[in-house]
Amino acid sequence: MITVVFLGKLADLAGAPTLRLSAPLDWAGLKAALPEALGEAVDDPRNRVAVNGALLADKAALQAGAGDEIALLPPVSGG
């Protein structure tokens, strides 16, 4: 299984701070595994993606396997 962590308002949309999904997952597979509204929200180009705490330069290059943790990071809040 893969743990998907939702930060900020994505956690509200997901209804939970984390989800467990079947491995493996690429970016298209992740979006397809989420409810439609949530899949669209995570596709916002301002969102960043990290795998096991390392930020991806290009989220389309996402490749996650069993035991990995994917974090979906919306823009951080300002002051």
Partner: protein, 152 residues
């Protein structure tokens, strides 16, 4: 070199950190401290009842350490204290405390300004505030990007 970088999930009293930090930098020429608190905001603006800060453990504290590294590279510092709250806070509670010790004032003042601009707009924190019983996520602001651009 005194370096104290922390995330706290409990209320803290900045004075209890600043005193020991200053003592730990003997021979300093100046110490500059900024403390940020949760704003009340006027009732006509909806009045803030609570602020909740979430973070992502694998990124947030390592990001604060990288910021501290850059501050030490950029300014001539003797010590740096950077403490940030996470979790649920009430108006009036301290949310952030940055203190820099240096031989000369300019390094201390600028290092605190630099760290605060980056903590506000580039650190991995997500904030939501409760107004009139409802939670609202706080979006990035243009002003934050302008504040960051000062250092580029």
């Amino acid at each position: 070199m005194m370096r104290d970088i922390r995330l706290l999930d409990r209320m803290f009293i900045p004075g209890t950190l600043i005193g020991p930090f200053t003592q730990a930098n003997p021979g300093l020429g100046g110490v500059c401290t900024f403390v940020g608190e949760v704003r009340f905001d006027a009732a006509e603006q909806g009045g803030v009842e609570a602020l909740e800060l979430t973070h992502y453990e694998p990124l947030t504290l390592p990001g604060m350490h990288e910021l501290a590294d850059r501050a030490f590279e950029r300014f001539d510092l003797m010590g740096l204290l950077m403490v940030h709250r996470v979790g649920m806070m009430r108006p009036g509670e301290p949310i952030v405390c940055v203190s820099a010790a240096a031989l000369h004032r300019r390094d201390a003042i600028d290092a605190v300004d630099f760290c605060m601009d980056h903590l506000k707009s580039a650190a991995w924190f997500w904030k939501r505030e409760k107004r009139a019983g409802e939670w609202h996520w706080i979006e990035p602001r243009q002003q934050d990007h302008e504040d960051l651009a000062r250092w580029q």
